[in-house]
Amino acid sequence: MKRKIMALLMAAAMGASMVLSACSSGGETTQTTTAAAKETAAETKNTAGESKAEGETAGSGLLNETGYPIVNEPITLKVGVKAGSAALDGPWADYDWIKALQEQSGINFEFVEYADNEAVSLMFASRDYPDISFDVGNDKQIKEAAEGGDLYAIDEYMEQYAPNWYKYFQDNPRSKATVTSADGHIYSLPAVWDETKESGSSMRDVFVIATPWLDELGLEIPTTTNEFYEVLKAFKEHAGEGSIPENVIPLYIYGITNNVGGALDLINFFGVRVSSHRYCVTMDDNEKVEFNFANEDIKEPLKYIRKLVEEGLVPVECFTDSNDEYLAKIKSADNYVGACFSGVNRDDGATTVIGVLDSENGKKPMKRGIEAVVTRNRFTIYKNCEYPEAAVRLANLIAEPEWSIQGYFGMFDGHFMEKTSDGKFMRLGYPMDEQRKSSGVVTRVSLLCSKENVMNNLVFEEGSNWGEQMKEREIYDDYLIPGKNCYPNIMFSDKNASRISELYTDIKSCVDTTFADWMINGGIDEGWDAYIAQLKDYGLEEFLSLLQEERDSAMALVQ
């Protein structure tokens, strides 16, 4: 009897753990099951492709070639989107912008929300597409869907139905290169946000310092790295006095190589050109790809940061914190961070944007720049769509100046935005934390905020928080790393893409772990040679030559 109970128990335990172990490897298996049904789906797809011509005529009967609404009787498109977090963004259908867009275009949206990247993967693997999608799919997924003949080549419709995009790409060949796939077609439209200066690049983070503390201590705003060091020391020494709290963090950096909040700007101040925006590489003046994380010149700024860490001016958990912790610290109402790099300055007067610091090593300080932001894969039309012309016209409508800017900053309702009498778009001084509410679609839809289209007409309400923010940033203009020194945002060819990502994973983690270790334990000079040898071992040379090759061929494509 006992034996029997035991046997049953064992069987139960065994079964349970087998099921569990099967579940834990679920990722691929789900894809597999759906792919099973896919063979048949492919057949239907093919026939659908052949009958495309009929579909087109059926669609164009409804289409108004110009003017609005786009279609002469309402149609419904299934729109694939990534689900936003409800608390932050709210459901897609609730945005005023989306509602107004449906009204003007005469096209109703039926949103298909994908909970996460896995859901998106599954959609592509099973080829169960919506009609159009915003911000769904990465380069590889879009490319493979295009290879499979599942996407409309938008460029073929562009001249006739999307003149805004057609003109933009004509005028901006570099942007065209970033969205054109290897076969010369454009399968997905990007979101464009171009606030570049004359140098061809725009700002990344601002450098902020707690000016009330400086005032209390009777200190000037630092202009050199040495003065900055003295200021940080003063913050620490006077912890607990005046408005400087006991637990003060004199300088908070979010790791070294993080694009947002990291210490890259601090390295730039020493005249070393680094960026982590595109594969951690930059371009030198001879159009050669360079990797300054392996340049001896970076030792000086690293030693400087190490000194700050060693003396407790930068807390060690900077190197272990998560993004949430970084944001919580720099945005905390208790203001215990003395200086940091941040995407936006706070609007409560606790900090002020300050300029670059001179390292006094004879080199001109730099500040990270980024090229016009062209974010791919924001508007894709799938072969399911019976009305490709209408969809392209919808993309064109979104790219109209008014629609693009309202998608970014909020509607022309007198609270978020206003249209001035001379036809400019004025951003009003609404509180910063309302930003998400006003502009939930930002960067997730193919908004065309290029210079000619939008940015040249954008003004800020006099004296408003947003206007001040823009003005503050001007102190960096002379120091920005120019656009030609940024690695372009391009799609990699099939043969190199996975090799590049493979090499990059190793190289990036080598840089991150080594730098973090140096910051905590020191030993930069002693460890330098081993670090370089390790990078070589990880294939740094191959990595750079592949990036060079990809860059050259992408540039050749547009010239």
């Binding site: 064992m10 990722g27 792919a35 592509f124 493979e144 869907a145 190197f319 994973t505």
Partner: protein, 303 residues
């Protein structure tokens, strides 16, 4: 002849087979049917071509995995982490179950049981946040105590040597109560007559554990051990990934996190399938080996 017997048996005990059917179906549909997706490990898989028409690349993905620089680091990391988890985590539920078995007060026993298995229901994200709150450098509880005692603050979260201890012991804390349930139920099947006569013979508690309880639950222990040995290569992804940072990466980069960074973020289905297959094969070999050893030594096995 045998088949006929089998059919007869099924006919005779059809209710039992009916009970078994859902489980068999489940395994067939969700565990066996998807297995042809393993083909992806040998292909340059493209969704629009499917498994049958995607380009066949043989062992390319495996070669890529074995030749990566990180291979020499992530495989030992994975094994160290899971073997440590197994060695530390396996005996503790057994000891807990044996202790609870001798608690005379039923109320107290239930209370302890509830308290010890409550952490099982905490999600990994919360657990990792708790670890961070307790062991943080400047604001952490432990370092606060150390500081007020005049000791140095320690960078627990960023130290690769400490990472494994944090990972394993937080796991033990979370899992021991839940893990002990099966042993407690096994212990309840011990014939009370044995204990009574042992008491009459003057056996101490330790002797009763040694000669009555443990021999009874040995089959359960061995079974679970064999199953756990079959999971050595698959360290759970979530918790490691959440606890990872650039300082402890040298200890915390395991196969699952590496494949995530390399393969899944870039939608490299073939590559991730190949690594998954590699893991499963090693696990299977381990499982069979441990099972064979156990059969030889104790005559208990699951296969």
């Amino acid at each position: 002849m045998r088949n006929k017997k089998m059919l007869l048996r099924i006919k005779k005990h059809w209710q039992l087979y009916l009970l078994l059917l859902p489980a068999v179906l489940y395994v067939a549909v969700f565990d066996y049917a998807p297995m042809y997706g393993l083909l992806g490990a040998f292909e340059n898989f493209k969704p629009y071509l499917g498994y049958l028409r995607s380009e066949w690349v043989g062992f390319l993905h495996f070669e890529r995995f074995f030749s990566t620089n990180a291979f020499a680091k992530i495989v030992p990391n994975t094994i160290k982490l899971s073997v440590y988890s197994l060695v530390a985590g396996f005996p503790i539920p057994i000891i807990l179950a044996l202790c609870l078995n001798y608690v005379p007060s039923v109320k107290f026993k239930k209370l302890v049981q509830n308290i010890t298995y409550a952490p099982h229901f905490i999600s990994v994200v919360v657990l990792v946040s708790m670890v961070n709150v307790f062991f943080g450098t400047n604001n952490g509880l432990i370092n606060g105590i150390r500081d007020s005692l005049g000791m140095d603050r320690i960078l627990f979260i960023g130290d690769p040597d400490i990472f494994r201890h944090l990972y394993v012991w937080s796991g033990v804390w979370q899992g021991m109560g839940w893990g002990s349930i099966i042993y407690i139920s096994a212990l309840s099947s011990v014939d009370p007559g044995l204990h009574e006569s042992a008491i009459v013979d003057g056996a101490s508690i330790l002797q009763r554990i040694r000669y009555i309880d443990i021999p009874t639950i040995v089959p359960v222990i061995v079974t679970l051990l064999i199953l756990d040995a079959g999971k050595v290569m698959s360290v759970g992804f979530d918790k490691v990934f959440l606890m990872q940072n650039s300082l402890n990466l040298s200890a915390s980069e395991v196969i699952a996190t590496y494949v995530y960074k390399r393969g899944l973020l870039n939608a490299e289905y073939g590559y991730s399938t190949a690594v998954g297959l590699f893991n499963s094969v090693i696990n299977l070999i381990l499982l069979i080996t441990v099972n064979q050893i156990s059969k030889k030594v104790s005559d208990i096995g699951i296969l």
